[in-house]
Every structure is written in C-alpha cells, then in structure tokens.
Point group: C2
Chain length 622, copies 2
C-alpha cells in the first residue's frame, strides 16, 4: 500500500471538467419536490410554469363613471341622450372597482347627467370593453411565467403568485457528502498536538456548496485506513448524489483514495494540470460521481470551485455560471510552470487612476491568502509566466466590491490592525488589504503604483509623496517573562548558549538593532541566530514565547501581546506614505479621516509603548 | 377619515434615505449572538476576531532528515563529524512531521551517515530553526483574522478555524415585520372574486429581505380599518427591529398608514420624488423605524430595494452595498416627469457588437416587467427624459448574466414560449427576452439594432437580414365552444348584436382578416368592435373565454389553449429574422441549433394548426 502514484494522465482543466460532466449524465437523478411558491426563492423550476389566473383577474373600471351594458347605450348622443336606471342598468364605479356582471363598458362621469336618485342620462354611447382595464394587463392566464430550469428570485415569486400559482415542482437540492480522510486530522476546538491538523476543509467546502444551492452532508472524518475509507465511500455513494473525498496532505492518503475509487467503481482520471489542485481525481461508484479533492486548503477550495460547482449546477438543471471578471494591470512579473494552468490569488484596486492586480502568496497551504484575495488570475498552461504591466483578467470572488479597496504595503504594525477595525466600526466604506514588506521596498512599491499607501517606519522622504504620521513606538529585545538569562541590552546577545532570532533586513527594527550593535562595538558573528531571520517582530516574539528561541526583536506592543519581557532599544516612527496624486482621492481622504479620528487615536494609545501625539499630521509633503 | 393626503414634502431620494438612516441611530439595537464558526457563513462579525492558534501550530520538518538540538551539532563538519544517538539525540523525520520536543533544527539526510542502527554521524552543524517550517506560516496566533462588521464567507470560515476560533459573536439577524393592509387583499390560492387582489407583495418583500441577511416576519394582513392597523403597528414596532406597512392600492389605505404613524410616533416624511414609489413614507414608533411602502407591486419592490436594504445593512453593521453596474446604449427616447427620479426597467444585450439597454413597460402595477428585466436605469429628477443612443448606466439585478441574453422583438407566438423552454431543457446558456410588437415594427427594431432577432409573421424581406423559418400556422376567428351564434366566417361578423374584438393594426392576423373582409366586400364599420383592439390573439381569446366578447381573432393553437371553437381564415408563416452581421455569432448559432433540434420541432408540431416542415430552414438571405 506504500507505492506512490505518478500522475499518469495529468489532464487539462477543460478536459477534466468535460469528463466529469459527461459522466454525470448516467447518474443524474431527476429528483424534484413540490414547494410553496412563497418559499421558492433560490430554487430552480423542474417544469415550465404557466399562469393559471390573469392579473388583474377581473375587469376593473379605468375611469370614475358608470358601468353599463354597452348595448343599452347604443345611439346615445348629446342631441339624443338615453336614460338608464341606477342599480339596474348603470352602476357607479370608482377607478379600480370591479365592473359588475352584465356590464361590458364604463361611461365616463363627464358624459353622464344624474337626473334623480335613481336615474342618469347619458350623452354618448359606449363601445364594448371601453374604459375597462384589461384582464391580464400584467399577466395573462396561460402565459409562460418561468421556463423549466429557471432559478427563482423575489420578482419571480411575485409573478408566479400574481399568475395564480401557489405551489410548484422544483429541483431537489443535490445532497453532497463530504468525507475528510487523514489520521492527522482533529476537529476544530480540540487541543492540538504536534503533527495534528485541524480539519476545516470540510467546513469550508460545506459553506461553498450551500452557496450554490446544494445540501452539504458532512461525514465523520476517517483515518488513513484503506478498508475504512472504502466502506465509507461505498456507503456514501449509495446514499448521496455526489461524494467528495478530501485526502489528507500526505502522499499516502491520496493513494488510498484513488485505489478505493478504482476498486469500488471506475477511476475517470487522477491528476489535473492545474496549480494548486494537481492531485484532483474523479470516478464513478454506484453510478454516482465521486471527486477526490487534494488536502491542501487552497487546493481543496479551488478544486471545489472548479469541479464541484459545475456538477451542482448541472444537477440543478442550470448552465455553468460565469464568474464576474474585471480587467486589471499586473503589478509584477509572475513565472509559472509550463504545462500547468496556474491560479494566482490577487488583490485588485484602483491605484493612481488604473485598476491593478497585485499577486498574493502562491502556496497551497495558505488559506489566509484566499481570505484576503479579491479573486484570481489564470496563467495558461502553455505560458511560463506573465509580465508586469500586462492586462490580465481577474475572476472575482463573490460579492467583492474592489472599488472600496486600498492596498497598503509595508511593515506590519499593530496600528494597522486597529485601523482596519476602526474603519469597520465607523462604517466607512473601505477595505484595506495588506502586503508585508520592509519600509524602503514599500515606498518603492508605492512609487511603482503597486500600492495606495506605504506603511513605513523611520524612512527618508521621497518625491511626489505625502507622509502622514501614525505613531512613535518602542522597539527592543523580547525575552521570556522571567528574563532568566538576564538580558539587559545588545551587549548580552553574544552570551554563550543564547539563541537569538532577527528580523528581515531592511526592517526598521533591524536597522535600529544594527546601529545599537555598531555603537556597542559588537561583532554580529558572535550572536547565534543573528542571520536567522523572521519577517516580523510578531513572528520573532512567537518563537520566543514557544520557547524555541531565547531572544527576539519586536515592539513593546508585541511583547505585551505575547506576555514577554521587553528591553527597549529605542523609538521608531510609523507613518503612512501616500502618492501626492491620490491625496485628494475620496477613498484616501476617508482613510485619513479615520486616522485622524479621536476613536482611532485613543485605541492606538492603548498599545504599550505607542505615542500618538502627532497621529494624522502631515510630516512632510515634498 | 376620507380626506386625501397631499405629498407635502416630496423629498429627493438621497435626502429621504439619509433621514431614514439617521433615525436608525436611536433604535439601533446592538444585538449579537454566539454561533459556531462553521455555521457562520453569511453572518457578520460583531467584534474583531484574532487568531488564538497559529497554523501550522507546530514545528514541522521542512526536509527529510533528523531533528536535533542544534547545540549538539555545533562545530560538526566533513573533516570533523559528530556522532549522535538515534532516539535520544537525533530523531528521524519526514517532511511535514512534527519536530520532537527538545529539538530546534533539522539536519538534512544528505549531511548524515548512518553508522549503525543506533548512531548517526553528521557532517555539518545546524542553526537554530533550520529546516523547520515556521509556526504561523499561514496564520500567526494573535493576528487579526476578521475586523468587526465583516461578512463571512467560505474562506473566512477556513481562516478562522485554522486560527483556532470555533465560536464567534455575530450580529443578530434583524427581524423585519411585514404588514400588508387593504380590505381588497386575499391570500394566494384563494378563489378570487372581482375586486379582490392577491396579496403577494409581502411574499416578494420577504424573499428580498431574506437575501440581504435579515429575517422577515410576515404579519397577517389587516383590512382598511384605522384602529386595527394602529393596534397591529403598535404591537409589531414593540416586537421587531423594523416594521414595513404595505398600504393597499387605494388612496384611502395610504391615509391610514400615515395617520397611524403620526398618532403612534413621528412621521419623518411622506412622499419621495421617485417613480415608481412616490407615496413611500417613514416614521419612528416605539423607537423603531417604520416604513410605509406603496401597494403597487413594482413600487413596493423598488421601495424595499431602495430603502429597506440600506436599513438592514446598517443594522448588520455593513456599509451600503453598491449594485453591479454596466454601461449600455439606450435604444429609444424616454420622456419623464421633471422633479421625479424615475427608475426604468430595462433589458440588456449585446446587439451587433454594442451593449444596448432596451426599456420595458413602465407601469407600477406590472410585476412581470420586473421579472423580465435585467436591471434599471435612473432618469434624474432634473431631466425630462433621455435621448436614444445615450450611454446609460444600468444597475443590474442580482445574478444577472446579460452576456447570455438575446432580445427578440415581434409578434407573440406559442412557438416562442416553447423555444424558451427548449433552450432551458437542453441546457443551452441563453436567456431570451421578448418584446411584443407587430412584425413590420419588429423588423424596423431589428434594423435599428434594438433587438437580436425579430419574430415575424408573413413579412417582406429586407436588406442585410437572414430569415429562418419557424412554422406555418392557422389563424381564424375564435368563439365560445358551442358556437351558439353560428359563426362560419367573416360574413357573420356584422351580425346584429354580435361583439367582436380585433388585434392591433400591423399584426399578421389583422392583415389576413382585412384581406378576407375586403374579398367578401364587408364594410368594417358594420362590425361592432372592429376598432376595439387587443394586442395579441391570446388577449382576444381570453376576452371571448371570459364571455365579454363574442368573437376574437387568434390562432388555432390559442383557441385550443382556451378551449374555444375555431373558424380558420387562412395560414400565416412565422419566422425569425436575424441580422446578417450576427448570424455567425456564437449565441445566435446556439439559438438556431435549438430551433433546428428534433426535440423543438416535435414540441412545436404538437400545437394545433402548426406545420413545422421547414422549421429552421433559411428562407431567404438577401
């Protein structure tokens, strides 16, 4: 059972999708159910719906006047008026009133003289149907209200009810079983042991599926055991319309899935030429489609999007929906592997007048990058990448309003997270998206129009930018609470047996450290771990907290967040740098308004070591 | 109680919306509830969510090799290797395995020689953290996962669970009471008496509200009685977050609503300068917002969209969502009333390379036109209309894919409804939208690029168009089943006491009738109702069926649909006319494929009087 699978037939995406949809035909259960129309929003008609009643369904007066049998008005004129008896031959109607039976026209009040309580005199004749609001003005009995396979929304509910339809046959929502496999999996909320992984893929997939109108059925996770998996898949495929097997992240787990499919039914393919998502497979068991999804969270998410969604749509009788797309300019070169269609997550934002697409992390394990993304771009299998400035097509995630996006590039700072929160608390229509990088790089990125603002720490001024103060904060060394190693400053970093973790080169804290080391005349080679870099102070503090490293470099705020001791090395100013050309833009004005709000300042002030005296002030405008 | 209200303060839309949102502040209940993260898709966070665990949460080997305490590797080299005891000082790890406690580095298998079962020799030293996959590569404990007031979707579910969060505080879904008022209202499914109206507004509004994340509470309808309405509104405003009162369509009902609001609380405004939707009002009762919606279905729908949606979003802590918009070219002149912002329903489609917006019926009573529409355009209050060919902004209805739209203009034909159904049955990605007009007008419309195809009956050829045969059908006179009047042909139409209803001028059936009358030498003035026109044969047949009119003009198929007797006057050919320039377009090729399919033909043949021998054949290509 330990042999490794080679992807014998890495299929192109469209081919793989076609195979799946073609193999659906056989087991496509035309299951329908009867529901009340008023509960049918979001459901799909299983048959054409025709109006039973007209709307309006009765003849209504279109004028104030008298309803009459037109025959009795024949020949009436000013010169030769006719008399009619009220309540017998003529009936008073307001506009909208039903026309009494036996009447087939309405004579306008202007053509009527009331002679006494019981009699009117009419001075014109009436044609059949005159001044009567037509039956079926809105909907005519027998007309097609909704073709078969129509997804119903609020206005359709109205139209159907107006047409006298109260119950309809709709497609049954497909039931999709989701089976997570992997011995390493534990349920959310368990206290985690090393090597264990929280099983959240099935929860993500369940909510994807629910959005598309199907019913997810989460099966209990099963460990990497061939027989166990086989029994479960056999049973699930008998019970449900579609079975999804999520393989564990280990190569072995994936083998089980393909073998189970082969031995219970037919394996249609194993391996698709996409990235992430390559190990995806599909088969047919008990006449039901079974899809094996990769275990990496991004692969599982994307695989579900690309393969499960069209299956659900087909089962519901719908055509494949197209994602909303937008054209944007790529902000950096991307390389990719020939022969694989790669899906690169991106953020999208208007920057200095152009819509830009900024790539995010590409790892298959980073669900965070899906959460932060606005959509993805595809690098075709036959390309080895895409060039900066190329116009690319971004397929947007659902309900994304990229017009509210502002991209911030720079050094992570607790001030940033507070800003995100304040924006949402104050109900400001902005979404901030963050890209972590050293200050100088961030300003370069800003100047290259790949960000709307740079979050920088103690950085020199540049042309055509505006610098807005955020806060002054303290940076220093962080150690475990007891400070048992007795660290008092940079002098102690070269202590025998002590381990240190540094921050990335170019970061403000790193520069401060280096200057302190230089002043103290300490050779960095003597510091164990000086070249061991974490990106942010938070990463470093976390390593100290976890007991892996003795000393890290971080801000006082971060030290407090992780309950660590803090030895100050000095102060750093954080600021936002904005393009001069965007300062007057509505979205950036909104952003600065929040920065300058008292609520934000008072939140910021609560962070240990933060001085917000000049928060929101423009430092320089060169 | 009979006095009529004047709209004293017809407010502009934005002003009215602002008043509503400002008056929400007072009664904004910050109600939250705790839910499981895995059930939280679509919900909105009520507080900022920070990661509790990192993901990965353990130190994982990034290479196959041995996990070690790096101190014990210090100084090792090829020249000076060090020996370590397996299971005590060195532990074999596969990529992804947890690094055992006490180890803070992994030495690659390439730098290891296994001496015996218990001992390895290492030829390089290891730095702290080396070849260990960083904790928090995806998510770092303490990081902001979701700001407050964030709407969660599948990937957020994943991110939160990965960050160790299993339960969160979310905004309670606002409960919105919907109270229909009007003595004329009856529930769907009731057998309708003249003057009664099916109460479907509350059902439409309920499904609109559900889409936006609130809980609709449908209250029992109440008749037009001031005290009854007052008591109900008083009670509902105490129980729910927002109360919607749907006034009956009569002017009196609306009075009750405004008086109830005034007497129970404060009327904020009555009357908004929009069309449809003018009589909309709002007030505050028991510190809750109360909105009075107009009774006309389109007004109620639009009023809910414009005023209730932002209230729900505000209650949920979200900013006002912007509809998806698209620019299109208006196909006809539109006039509108100065001082009112008018919302005109439109269809949108690509026609001959350009995206066009084609206005639909504008009446407030026509829910059908909302159902058929793709969105609407706004004519600003300070404009008296919009000119043909103007670029307009269309605000799209949810989930509209206008790229699949084809606009068909022409004479209603049962062949059309069957075609709509066949397209959906065959799973073809097309949506047909129909605009009813006489054949010649339809071909003009086609030539003006305001439709993708004209559905015509026996019409002359034109330049640059292609004509595709649909069917030959019979047209004639329709009478009630017994034919008690003994109608045998056009000669009998001038019978004393007989009433006739005609079709619109320009329609093929009308032209056929006229030619038959001319041949028979009958003066049309002698026919009672000759000038009384219904648009389609179906409308005419319906009037005959309802007993209002004795004889109508329709096809044999329609006669059968309404169970009427039919006296044939002759045959008419129905065909589809397409622009030569669009014949090769993918969407039109798909359409013709369906027209030519055997399934469609066999459906068409089932209609009485239809001959489909040449269905799908190109008649002429001039």
């Amino acid at each position: 059972m330990e042999k490794r699978n080679i992807y014998l037939d890495k299929l192109p995406l469209t081919e793989a999708k076609e195979i799946i949809l073609n193999n659906l035909a056989g087991n496509y259960r035309e299951a329908t159910e009867r529901v009340k129309v008023e509960d049918a929003s979001g459901r799909v008609t299983a048959e054409a719906v025709y109006a039973e009643d007209s709307s309006p369904h009765y003849y209504a007066a279109a004028m104030d006047g008298f309803a009459v049998d037109v025959d009795k008005t024949f020949g009436a004129s000013k010169r030769d008026p006719k008399e009619l008896t009220i309540g017998q031959e003529a009936f008073f109607v307001d506009t909208g009133d039903a026309v009494p039976e036996g009447c087939n026209g309405v004579i306008m009040i202007e053509d009527v003289n009331q002679l006494d309580e019981a009699t009117i005199e009419i001075t014109a004749s009436v044609a059949p149907g005159q001044h009567i609001r037509s039956i079926g003005e809105d909907i005519l009995a027998s007309q097609l209200l909704a073709p078969v396979n129509t997804k119903l929304g609020p206005s359709e509910i109205g139209g159907l009810l107006a047409g006298g339809i109260t119950e309809i046959e709709v497609r049954k929502e497909p039931e999709v079983a989701i089976l997570p496999t992997g011995t390493e999996l534990v349920d959310p909320g368990s206290s985690l042991q090393p090597g264990e992984i929280v099983e959240y893929n099935s929860r993500v997939i369940a909510s994807q599926i629910r959005e598309w109108g199907a019913v997810p059925v989460k099966a209990d996770k099963v460990e990497d055991d061939y027989e166990l998996i086989k029994n479960r898949v056999d049973r699930l495929s008998q019970q449900y319309d579609l079975v999804l097997i999520i393989a564990g992240s280990s190569a072995g787990a994936e083998d089980y899935t393909s073998q189970v499919i082969e031995n219970l039914g037919e394996l249609l393919f194993h391996g698709v030429a996409i990235k992430p998502g390559k190990p995806l497979m599909a088969g047919v068991i008990n006449e039901k489609l079974v899809i094996g999804l990769p275990g990496y969270p991004v692969s599982a998410y994307l695989g579900t999007q690309l393969f499960v969604r069209p299956v659900i749509e087909r089962l519901l009788g719908l055509t494949c929906s197209q994602p909303e797309k937008v054209k944007a300019e790529l902000t950096q070169n991307l390389t990719s592997k020939l022969g694989e269609e790669e899906f690169v997550r991106v953020n999208v934002a208007h920057i200095d007048g152009d819509l830009k697409a900024v790539p995010l992390q590409r790892g298959a394990g980073v669900i965070n990058s899906v959460m932060k993304s606005d959509g993805f771009i595809r690098i075709p299998a036959l390309k080895q990448g895409m060039k900066q400035n190329k116009q690319v097509e971004v397929e947007l995630r659902r309900d994304i309003d990229y017009n509210q996006n502002l991209l911030i590039a720079g050094e992570e700072d607790l001030a940033y997270e507070l800003l995100c929160n304040q924006i949402k608390l104050q109900g400001v229509g902005l979404n901030l998206k963050f890209k972590n990088m050293a200050s100088e790089t961030a300003v370069d990125t800003l100047e290259q129009k790949a960000a709307n603002a740079a979050l920088v720490k103690t950085v020199g001024m540049r042309q055509e930018t505006v610098v807005v103060n955020l806060a002054v904060s303290e940076v220093g060394l962080v150690v475990r609470p007891d400070n048992s190693l007795g660290i008092n400053g940079v002098e102690d970093l070269s202590q025998e047996g002590l381990s240190f973790v540094n921050q990335q080169q170019g970061r403000a804290a790193r520069r401060l450290l280096d200057s302190r080391l230089e002043t103290a005349g300490i050779n960095t080679q003597e510091i164990v771990g000086y070249r061991q870099e974490e990106i942010t102070g938070r990463d470093a503090a976390n390593l100290v907290k976890e007991g892996i490293i003795d000393v890290g470099l971080a801000s006082r705020g971060v030290a407090e967040l992780f309950n660590l001791d803090f030895i100050s090395l000095g102060q750093i100013t954080s600021s936002l740098v904005i393009l001069e050309s965007e300062v007057e833009r509505e979205e950036l004005k909104k952003l600065l308004e929040v920065v300058r709000s008292n609520e934000y300042k008072s939140q910021l002030q609560k962070i240990a070591g933060y001085n917000t005296e000049d928060c929101g002030e423009i430092i320089d405008r060169k």
